[in-house]
């Protein structure tokens, strides 16, 4: 299974990618939406884990553009806010919605659920 993690907090996604790799998942990371779109051109990802609030291309917009390229890709949103507005948008537009900080066990579980 190949995962793409996208968040403008590079130290967060790099550590999460490493932790997923230790659990047998191939995980790449990007810190901008543009970078994520380039990576999705070059490789096939099963699940994308996206921060909702990112500069330039936000999570919702990035999801739309990734889905255009890879209709089978599943999505999990991350949010620091946990606001009602984010929850509604995140729950409606993705397989899962997680609030930071995220327990790795929860993320692994949601990834497995997303690809079921």
């Amino acid at each position: 299974m190949r995962i793409l993690l996208v968040d403008d907090e590079a130290e967060l996604v790099s550590a999460m990618a490493e932790r997923l790799a230790m659990r047998g998942m191939e995980a790449d990371w990007a810190e901008t939406g543009e970078q994520a779109l380039e990576m999705a051109e070059a490789a096939q990802y099963d699940v994308a884990v996206l921060d909702m609030k990112m500069p330039r291309i936000g999570g919702l917009e990035l999801r739309r553009r990734l889905e255009e390229r890879s209709p089978d890709m599943k999505f999990i949103f991350l949010s620091g806010h946990g606001s009602e507005e984010d929850f509604r948008a995140g729950s409606a537009e993705a397989e899962s919605y997680l609030i930071k900080p995220v327990r790795i066990e929860d993320l692994v579980e949601r990834i497995h659920e997303a690809v079921k």
Partner: protein, 224 residues
């Protein structure tokens, strides 16, 4: 002022306080998230080490360095939040306009980044004035929001704060370049400008917006 108008003004002030608090709490959440991921990675590495996988000192240094950087970042965010929170302690007091500008630029960076706009501080010299610090912060935040809304994606908005050149003891001059500010400010910002007995205008240089603050604003100056 009518009760309804008074309520609307109070609500607008609270909305500003809420926006700043939400932005700061989002920043703190990110700091916690990075620390949490780093600590989790250290835990994973120690579990693997217990199973016989050698520990790489460089890896440990990298992760612990990340955690330390985030703690410093969190400390700065909380210090800014504390400074902001204490700005309502007194109605009027001595403040350095440059310090208030620096604080509001730091607090607003994430909001600007969301629109792909960068905020920068240009020349900032000590500008001691006697004013209402909370209303000054509110005005600056509103101006930054307005500048970001009118700036094009990828642009840099630069702020400066200097004592009034002709008569430094007469107050401070604050300027903004890199975004067009409408000649007519929104009503809320006009109210704050009046409250601070300040004067806003498109400046002498093309595209520069200027705010002049008096040396002293009295306790009830401009109250509406």
């Amino acid at each position: 002022m009518s009760d309804e108008r008074h309520d609307a003004v109070e609500r607008e002030d609270l909305r500003f306080f809420g926006k700043v608090s939400a932005s700061i709490s989002h920043e703190i959440k990110n700091v916690f998230a990075v620390i949490h991921a780093g600590a989790g990675l250290l835990e994973d590495l120690s579990l693997l080490a217990a199973k016989g996988r050698p520990l790489e000192p460089e890896k440990l240094q990298q992760v612990s360095g990340s955690i330390l950087r985030q703690i410093q970042r969190g400390d700065e965010i909380v210090r800014n939040m504390n400074t902001f929170a204490h700005s309502v302690d007194e109605d009027v007091r001595n403040v350095d306009v440059s310090s208030v500008l620096e604080l509001m630029v730091k607090i607003s960076q994430r909001l600007a980044a969301a629109r792909n706009v960068r905020l920068e501080l240009g020349e900032c010299r000590s500008c001691p004035v006697r004013t209402d610090p909370y209303f000054l912060e509110h005005l600056l935040f509103g101006v930054i929001e307005l500048a970001v809304a009118h700036a094009s994606s990828g642009s840099v908005v630069t702020f400066t704060a200097t004592p009034l050149a002709a008569a430094p003891d007469q107050g401070a001059r604050l300027s903004l370049s890199g975004a067009r500010i409408p000649a007519e400010l929104p009503e809320g910002l006009e109210r704050l400008t009046r409250r601070l007995a300040a004067c806003a205008a498109s400046g002498d240089e093309a595209g520069t917006w200027v705010l002049r603050l008096p040396q002293t604003v009295s306790q009830d100056s401009g109250r509406i």
